[in-house]
C-alpha cells in the first residue's frame, strides 16, 4: 500500500517590538527574572490591556508578505485555561475573526515548486516562563517551580498553514523560507533557541488517492528545523506502520526525542481543553483602514525573491549567486555593504560565496559573529585588484582576518606579503633561475613552452609566492627567447 503524508504547521513568532502587546514593559530576552513586569502583565486585579500599535504594523507586514487578505475588522477573544505561566487565567488571542486569512507561500524543493496555503495569521500574547526545579526540568517530579514574567505579554503572531505540505522536506523548506522572510521583514529575531520562533506540526497519513484526511497527531515544540524534518519523517513511518499492521492512529500530542530518534506520546487529545473562547470585553475591535495597510505595504522591505531578481537584473549576477546571497537577509546585507566599497559585483559575490561562506561553514560560526566587516573585505579586494597582493595570498589574508579580526593592510605588512612588482628585483631572480637550470632553458628554446611554468615556480619559491605572476611571466618570456 502506498501512503502519503499530510502536514500542517502552526508557527508562533515573538515580535521584536520595543514594548509588550498590552502594556508598556520592555520586550527583551533573558536578564534578571521578573524585572520587566507591571500590573498588566502580572494580571493584578483591576489592570487592563491596551493594544500595541507597533505590533499591529508588524503583524500587517507578515500578513502582506504571505499574500493574505487582511480583515478590516477583527476582534480579540479570551482563551481560558489555568496554568501558572498564564497570569490572567486566559490568553488574549484571536479566534473566529482573525486578522488575516487565505495567504500562500511558494516553496521550491529539488526544482519543484510547492504552493502552501496560509489558513490564518493572528495576533496574541506570549505566556510567562516556568522554570521547574529538578533534574528533568519538567514539571513532573520537580520540587517546586519558579515563574519569570519577563516574557509574559510579549507580542506573539500565530501563522497557521493549510494541511497542504506533502513531505518533511517541503515542511523544512517552507520553514526556512518563512524564517528568512520574517528576518527580512525585521519583525522578529527568529531565534529558535530563545523561543522567539516556535513550531508545532500536525501530521496524518492516508492512502494515495484518498481525499479524506487521516487521524492526525501533533508534534510539539521542536527547536530546530532539522529536527522537525527528522521528527516528521519518524512520525510518518510510525503512523504507516500502525496502519499497515491494522491498528489505528490515536489523536494525540507526540514528542520526538532528538537523542534516541524515538517518538513518544505526551498526552491524549481525548481530554482536550475546552478553552471557552469569548470576545475580550476589555479591548475594542481592531479596525484597520486601507490607508494603514497601504502605508505598511509602502514601508515593506525588499523581500528575498525581489532582491534576487534585482541582483540578476541590475548587478548581472548568475541566478545561483543571487539565490545564495539572498538566502538570508544578513548575508545579502553583508554583500551589499561590501559592494558599496568595491564595485565589482561578481568578484564580491565570488569572495562572499567562496571564502566567507567557506570559512563560516568550516568553523560553524554565525555571520553575526564574523570578525571581518564588509568594508574590510572590500579593502582586501581593492588590494588584490591593484596587485598589492596576489589572489592566492589574498585568500590566506582573508582567513587570517577571520581568525584575528585584523585589517588586511596590517596582516600584509606584518607578514611582508606585499606582491613584488619591481622589475629589476624580479629580473635578478629570473636570471638566477635561468643560469641555474640550463637544461630546462634548452627544452624551452627547443619549443617546449610549458617549461615556463617551471621557471615561474622557481621565482615564486624564491619570493614565497609574493612575485607578481603576470609580470614574472612576461619577463621570463622575454629573457628566455632573448
Amino acid at each position: 500500500m502506498v501512503y502519503e503524508p499530510v502536514i500542517g504547521l502552526e508557527i508562533h513568532v515573538e515580535l521584536s517590538t520595543r514594548s509588550k502587546m498590552f502594556c508598556g514593559c520592555q520586550v527583551q530576552f533573558g536578564g534578571e527574572p521578573n524585572v520587566r513586569t507591571c500590573p498588566v502583565c502580572l494580571a493584578h486585579p483591576g489592570a487592563l490591556p491596551v493594544m500595541n500599535r507597533q505590533a499591529i504594523r508588524y503583524l500587517t507586514r507578515i500578513a502582506l508578505s504571505l499574500d493574505c487578505e487582511i480583515s478590516a475588522k477583527s476582534i480579540f477573544h479570551r482563551k481560558n485555561y489555568f496554568y501558572p505561566d498564564l497570569p490572567k487565567g486566559y490568553q488574549i488571542s484571536q479566534y473566529d475573526q482573525p486578522y488575516a486569512v487565505e495567504g500562500h507561500v511558494n516553496v521550491g524543493v529539488h526544482g519543484k515548486m510547492h504552493k502552501i496555503g496560509i489558513e490564518r495569521v493572528h495576533q496574541e500574547e506570549d505566556t510567562a516562563k516556568n522554570i521547574h526545579a529538578g533534574e528533568s526540568g519538567r514539571i513532573a517530579g520537580s520540587l517546586y517551580s519558579l515563574i519569570d514574567f519577563n516574557r509574559s505579554g510579549t507580542p506573539l503572531v500565530e501563522i497557521v498553514t493549510k494541511p497542504e505540505i506533502t513531505s518533511p522536506q517541503v515542511a523544512r523548506a517552507f520553514l526556512n523560507k518563512l524564517k528568512n522572510t520574517l528576518q527580512y521583514l525585521d519583525v522578529s529575531d527568529c531565534n529558535m533557541e530563545e523561543g522567539s520562533l516556535r513550531c508545532d506540526a500536525n501530521i496524518s497519513v492516508r492512502r494515495v488517492g484518498e481525499t479524506e484526511l487521516g487521524v492526525k497527531t501533533e508534534l510539539k515544540n521542536m527547536n530546530s528545523f532539522k529536527y522537525i524534518e527528522k521528527g516528521l519523517t519518524q512520525e510518518i513511518s510510525r503512523q504507516i506502520d500502525l496502519l499497515e499492521s491494522g491498528e489505528k492512529v490515536v489523536q494525540q500530542t507526540v514528542h520526538f526525542d532528538v537523542t534516541s530518534g524515538e517518538i513518544s506520546s505526551l498526552r491524549s487529545k481525548e481530554f482536550a481543553h475546552d478553552y471557552r473562547y469569548f470576545p475580550e470585553p476589555d479591548l475594542v475591535p481592531l479596525i484597520v483602514s486601507d490607508e494603514f495597510v497601504e502605508e505598511v505595504r509602502a514601508e515593506m522591505p525588499e523581500l528575498p525573491e525581489t532582491r534576487a531578481l534585482r541582483y540578476m537584473d541590475t548587478l548581472g549576477l548568475p541566478e545561483y549567486d543571487a539565490e545564495v546571497l539572498t538566502a538570508s537577509r544578513e548575508l545579502a546585507d553583508y554583500y551589499e555593504a561590501c559592494l558599496e566599497h568595491f564595485k565589482d559585483a561578481k568578484t564580491v559575490s565570488n569572495w562572499v560565496m567562496g571564502e566567507l561562506l567557506g570559512y563560516l561553514n568550516a568553523t560553524g560560526q554565525e555571520l553575526s559573529a564574523c570578525k571581518v566587516a564588509p568594508e574590510s573585505l572590500a579593502a582586501l579586494l581593492t588590494l588584490v585588484t591593484s596587485g598589492k597582493v596576489s589572489a592566492n595570498v589574498g585568500k590566506d589574508v582573508f582567513a587570517e582576518m577571520c581568525d584575528t579580526g585584523k585589517s588586511p593592510e596590517e596582516i600584509i605588512d606584518e607578514k611582508g606579503l606585499t606582491q613584488i612588482s619591481d622589475e629589476s628585483e624580479l629580473e635578478a631572480l629570473i636570471d638566477t633561475a635561468i643560469s641555474g637550470n640550463p637544461s630546462q632553458v634548452e627544452q624551452y628554446r627547443a619549443g617546449k613552452e610549458q617549461v615556463i611554468g617551471f621557471f615561474v615556480g622557481q621565482v615564486m619559491k624564491a619570493t614565497q609566492g609574493r612575485a607578481n605572476p603576470k609580470l614574472v611571466n612576461e619577463l621570463l618570456k622575454k629573457k628566455l627567447t632573448g
Binding site: P39, A47, N80, F82, Y90, P281, D282, V284
Partner: protein, 485 residues
C-alpha cells in the same frame, strides 16, 4: 451646626470661606464612624491616620487649593488604592495591598479629596444586599435590621450615616443605584466608557462603571466632573463629549418624560409605586410632558444579564489562583490541587455560583444557546432603549422594586435576590447613564426614582434630577445623622 448634614458643595464653600477646616470635617466623619460603624459596618478599613494627615495638609495650603480640597470621601473596596488593603470584601484578597491606584481614585486625589477608608460591598461586587461580604453585612442607617442594598452598600450606608461626605461606588447591574435608593441618597451610573475602569477590580468588564454616591444631585454632578475622561490605560474609555456642569434652578418645562411601563407593573411593591406615581405627578406639574414608554424586551434583561455577567466574571476571576498575590492554600500536593483549594477557600458561595454559571454558559456546545443568545437579547434591549429614547428625552422608573428588605430575608433564594435589580439591569445591558434620587419614604424607608438618558447625556439627566429633587419634601438624612443635630 451638624457638620454631618453638609453636602460636598456646602462644605467646600465653608472651607473656602475659612469657616470650616478639612480637619474639622474629617474629624466629624471619623467621630461618626467611631460612634456608629460597629453597627452599620460601612467600612472594611478606616484609614483615619492618613485621613487626618491629608486633611491637615490641605488646611495648610494657601490660596490655589485643588478644587475638591479636603472633602472626606469613602472609596468602595473594589477600587485599587496603592499601599492600602483592597479586599473586594473577599477572603481571597484579605491582605492584598495593590501597588497602584485606580485612575478614578487618583483623579479624585489629584483634586484634593481626603480618603476616609474603604467600604464594604458584596464580594467582588456580586450581590444586591452587601450580605455577600466575607467580613459581614453592612446595615441600613435608616433601619439597622435592614440591608443597605448592594453591591455598593458600604458606600451608600457611609454617606447616609454621615460617615462620609460622599463616596465612590461601582455599578454592574445596579450596584450604585439600588443601594442609593435603599439608603435615601443619590447614586449615578455614568455612560459605559465615560469613567476609566483601570484599577476597578473587574466583575463584568462590559458592564462595570464607577460613579458617585452623594447626598444630593449637585454633589453627584460635581464628583462626576472629576471622574470622567479618556484614560490611556483603559481602551474602552473615551473623552466625555459633554462638559459636566452643575445643575441650575430650572423647572421641567418641555422635558419629555417616558414612564417605562414594563418597570412599573407586576413585581413592584405598592408602597414604592405610590411614591413613584406621586413623584411623576409632581414632575408633570413642574412642566414635564409625561407619557408611557416601552422596553418590550426588558423581561429578558435579567436572564441575559445572568448569562453575560457571570461569563465575563468567570474569566475575570481566573487570576485569583494563589500564584502571584492574595490567598494561597497550603499543604497541597500539586498546582491543580493548590488552585482548587485556594479558590474553594477564597471565594464565597455567590462568587462560586456565578463562576460556575459563567463557565457553563461558555462551555463548548452551550455557547450559542446561552452566551450567543444572551448577546442577541442585549442587542434587542439596546434597540428598545434607542426607540424609547427617540420618543422621550428621559425615561423614569422606580430604582428598585422594593424598599430595603430585612437582613437574611432573601439570602436563601438567589433568584429573589437577583430580582432586586430588575429596574436597573436593563440600563447596564445598554451601557446608558442613569441616576437614582430619593423620591420619598414608604413605611419610613426611602424610595428611589431612576432617571435614564441617552448615552453621554449625564448633564441632562443631572439637570432633570436636580429639578425633581427640588420638588421633593424628602431630605436625604437618616436618623443617624439627624441624631447629631
Amino acid at each position: 451646626m451638624n457638620l454631618l448634614r453638609l453636602t460636598a458643595v456646602e462644605a467646600l464653600a465653608l472651607i473656602g470661606k475659612k469657616e470650616l477646616t478639612s480637619s474639622e470635617l474629617t474629624d466629624a466623619c471619623l467621630a461618626q464612624i467611631e460612634r456608629h460603624d460597629k453597627d452599620v459596618f460601612a467600612y472594611l478599613n478606616v484609614t483615619g491616620t492618613s485621613a487626618r494627615e491629608e486633611a491637615a495638609a490641605v488646611d495648610q495650603l494657601a490660596e490655589d487649593r485643588p478644587e475638591l480640597a479636603g472633602l472626606p470621601t469613602a472609596v468602595k473596596d473594589v477600587l485599587c488604592t496603592r499601599g492600602v488593603t483592597t479586599t473586594c470584601a473577599s477572603r481571597m484578597l484579605e491582605n492584598y495591598k495593590p501597588f497602584y491606584t485606580a485612575t478614578c481614585v487618583r483623579q479624585m486625589q489629584d483634586a484634593g479629596i481626603v480618603m476616609l477608608g474603604k467600604t464594604n460591598m458584596d464580594e467582588f461586587a456580586m450581590g444586591s444586599s452587601t450580605e455577600n461580604s466575607a467580613y459581614g453585612p453592612t446595615r441600613n442607617p435608616w433601619d439597622l435590621g435592614r440591608v443597605p442594598g448592594g453591591s455598593s452598600g458600604g458606600s451608600a450606608a457611609a454617606v447616609a450615616a454621615g460617615e462620609a461626605i460622599w463616596a465612590l461606588g461601582s455599578d454592574t447591574g445596579g450596584s450604585i443605584r439600588q443601594p442609593a435608593a435603599f439608603c435615601g441618597v443619590v447614586g449615578l451610573k455614568p455612560t459605559y466608557g465615560s469613567v476609566s475602569r483601570y484599577g476597578l477590580v473587574a466583575f463584568a468588564s462590559s458592564f462595570d462603571q464607577v460613579g458617585p454616591i452623594t447626598r444630593n444631585v449637585t454633589d453627584a454632578a460635581l464628583m462626576l466632573r472629576f471622574l470622567v475622561g479618556k484614560d490611556p490605560l483603559d481602551s474602552t474609555s473615551i473623552e466625555h463629549p459633554e462638559k459636566i456642569t452643575l445643575p441650575e434652578d430650572r423647572d421641567l418645562s418641555g422635558v419629555r418624560l417616558g414612564v417605562v411601563k414594563e418597570l412599573v407593573g407586576e413585581g413592584i411593591d405598592p408602597g414604592v409605586m405610590k411614591v413613584f406615581n406621586e413623584t411623576v405627578q409632581k414632575m408633570e406639574a413642574a412642566g414635564a410632558i409625561v407619557g408611557e414608554a416601552s422596553l418590550p424586551h426588558s423581561a429578558y434583561a435579567l436572564p441575559a444579564y445572568y448569562i453575560l455577567a457571570p461569563a465575563e466574571a468567570s474569566a475575570n476571576l481566573a487570576r485569583f489562583d494563589g500564584v502571584r498575590f492574595g490567598l494561597r492554600a497550603g499543604g497541597t500536593n500539586d498546582v491543580t490541587e493548590m488552585y482548587e483549594e485556594t479558590r474553594s477557600l477564597g471565594f464565597g458561595e455567590e462568587v462560586k455560583r456565578r463562576i460556575m454559571l459563567g463557565t457553563y454558559a461558555l462551555s463548548s456546545g452551550y455557547y450559542e444557546a446561552y452566551y450567543g443568545q444572551a448577546q442577541k437579547v442585549r442587542t434587542l434591549i439596546v434597540r428598545d432603549f434607542e426607540k424609547a429614547l427617540g420618543e422621550f428625552d428621559l425615561l423614569v422608573s422606580p430604582s428598585a422594586p422594593t424598599t430595603a428588605f430585612r437582613l437574611d430575608e432573601k439570602t436563601g433564594d438567589p433568584l429573589t435576590m437577583y430580582k432586586s435589580d430588575i429596574c436597573t439591569i436593563p440600563v447596564n445591558l445598554a451601557g446608558l447613564p442613569a441616576i437614582s434620587i430619593p423620591a420619598g419614604l414608604s413605611e419610613g424607608l426611602p424610595v428611589g426614582l431612576q432617571i435614564i438618558g441617552r448615552a453621554f447625556t449625564e448633564p441632562a439627566i443631572l439637570q432633570a434630577a436636580y429639578s425633581a429633587e427640588q420638588l421633593m419634601d424628602f431630605k436625604s438624612v437618616s436618623p443617624l445623622i439627624a441624631g447629631q443635630d
